[in-house]
Amino acid sequence: MSNLYRVACAAGFSGDRLGVARPIVDEFIRLGEPACLIFESLAERTLALAQLDRRQNAAAGYEPLLQEMLEPIIADCVSNHISIVGNFGAANPEGAAQLIADIAKSKGLPPLKIAVVKGDEIPPSVFMPYLSKADQIMLSKSALVSANVYLGAREIAEALEAGAQIVVTGRVADPALTVGPLMTHFKKSWDDWNFLAQATMAGHLLECGAQVTGGYFADPGVKDVSGLANVGFPIIEFDSAGNCCVTKAPDTGGVVNRMTVTEQLLYELHDPAAYLTPDVVADISKAQLQELGENRVMLKQVFGHQRHETLKANICIDGGWLAEGEISYAGHHAFERAQLAGKIILERLSPALDLRVDYIGSSSVFASDSGDGPSFKAQGGFEDIRMRVAAAHQDKALAHQLCREVTALYTCGPAGGGGVRTSLRPRLNTLVAYVPRDFIKPSFQFFSGE
C-alpha cells in the first residue's frame, strides 16, 4: 500500500463550503500514508476580482476565506506531513503566505516552509501581439484589470521537492495543483506524457470539489444522493502506474459512482482526445471507469501527448456596469401583470439601454438575451412570477436608471407588485491569448516575510 499517494480537494471554488477538510485530514492521519490537500479557489474571473481588492488594500488580493480554510487543519497537516497546495494566492500570493505564517505562529507551530509560485502575471508587452485585432481594439478602450498565464505543475513540484510544506500559487491550471505533488512523489519525468495525463485527469476530477462526490448531481427520485448537507469532498488514490481511484472520506454524505465520475470527467471538456493543459495534452477518448466498491471508482486508459508550445493567458478588462432589478407578482393574472411591468420598463428605457426581460417562474434561464426560448405556464391559472430586467452599459449613471425604474414600479406599475430588489455592479470582460512558453519565466521562492 505504500506505493499509494493520496490527494484530496477541500475547495472547488472561492466561496465553497468551509469545514470540509476536517474529515479528509482525519482520514489521512488514520491512514498514516503520504498525502496532499489541495484548495482550488480561482475561477476565471476570481483573480481579476482579487486584483480589484488589492487596489483598494495592498494587503488584500488573496482568497478572502483563507484563514477560515486553513486555521482548523493547518497544525494537524504540518505535524502529520500532509502537504498543502492551493491557488488561494490569487493576485497576492505573498500576502497569502504572510497570513499563513501568522496563523502558524498563532498556533505555536515552528516556522513553516511556505513556497510562493511566481511568474503568472504578465505585462501587455508579452500578451499584446497574441491578441486578436478585435480584442486589441477592445483593450484600447477599456482599463486593464489583470493579465495572467495559466502556469503548469512544475514549480509546485519543485517547491515540494525542496521541502515546502505549503505551496501558494496565483494562476495555475487547476489540475496542476494535483499534478505537482504527484510528480514530486513518483519522481516521473516531465515528458512522461501518459503519467502526466493520468495525473492531470486525477486533478480534473478533484478540482471542483464535491462535484465528483455527489454534489451538483442530485435530482430527487431520479438521481438521489444522501447526506448532501454533509457531502464528503473527494480523495484520489494514485499509484506509480498512473491508476487513479476516486473516493471520499468515511462518514460523510454524498456518493462516488460511475455516474458522478462520468459527469465530472466530461465537465468543461471539449475534444475528449485533446484536453489541453500547460503540462500535457490529455486524451480520455478511450477512458474507462470501473466501480471497485462502495464510493470507489477507478479511472483507467488515460493517455497523454506532448504539451503545446503556448500557454493560455486570461486578460481581464473593465466591462462597464451591470444593472439588475426584480419585482414579484403572484396569484390571478400574475403573468399578465408581470408582462405589463416589463413593457413599462422597455418603454421607459429602450433604446438607451439594451434590456433583457425575464419572467421567472415562466421563462428565464433557458431563454436567450433576446428573449427567445421555451416558456412554461403554471397550471390552474395560479402563478407566482418574478419579473427581472437586466442591462449593461459603460455609463454608470445610465445603467443606474434601470434600478430606479424598477423601484418606481411600486407606485407607477401594475397592481400587486412587491419585493423589489435592485443591484448595480461593475463588470469584467475576459480576453484570451496564447503566449509562447519561452516568454514566461515561472519560479518559486520560499517566503521569508516579517
Partner: protein
C-alpha cells in the same frame, strides 16, 4: 409525425451536466443504462441538438462519442450570449442548459 406519441423526453434515459468556457458550452449526456447508448447514438445527433438549441443560434454543434462511458460530449459554440462576462442571463454560465437538452423528445425504439 405518426411516431410523435411514442416519443419520450431524453431525461428518462440519460443524465447530463453543463460546463462553460467563454461563449462555448459543453453538455455531457450519459445513459443510465449501457443498453440505451445505441438509442442515444441514433436519436441525439449533432443536427438534432443544433435544432433543439436553434433559438440560441449556435455557430457549431459538435458531438463526441464515448461508447465505453455510455456517454457523449456536445460542444456548442456562441450559444451563451457572450458567456459569463457579457450575457445578461441570470445563469450567465448556461449551467441550467443540461436540463434543456434533457427536455428533448426522442424515439426510444431502435
Amino acid at each position: 409525425m405518426s411516431s410523435t406519441k411514442k416519443k419520450i423526453p431524453l431525461y428518462q434515459l440519460a443524465h447530463a451536466r453543463t460546463g462553460d468556457k467563454g461563449n462555448r458550452s459543453n453538455i455531457s449526456l450519459i445513459a443510465y443504462r449501457p443498453e440505451d447508448y445505441a438509442v442515444l447514438l441514433k436519436e441525439v445527433t449533432a443536427e438534432k441538438v443544433r435544432e433543439h438549441f436553434a433559438y440560441r443560434n449556435p455557430t457549431s454543434v459538435q458531438r463526441y462519442e464515448l461508447p465505453q462511458l455510455y456517454a457523449f460530449n456536445f460542444v456548442m459554440d456562441e450559444i451563451l450570449d457572450g458567456g459569463v462576462n457579457l450575457s445578461l442571463n441570470l445563469d450567465a454560465h448556461g449551467k441550467s442548459l443540461s436540463y434543456w437538452l434533457l427536455a428533448m423528445k426522442i424515439d426510444p425504439s431502435l
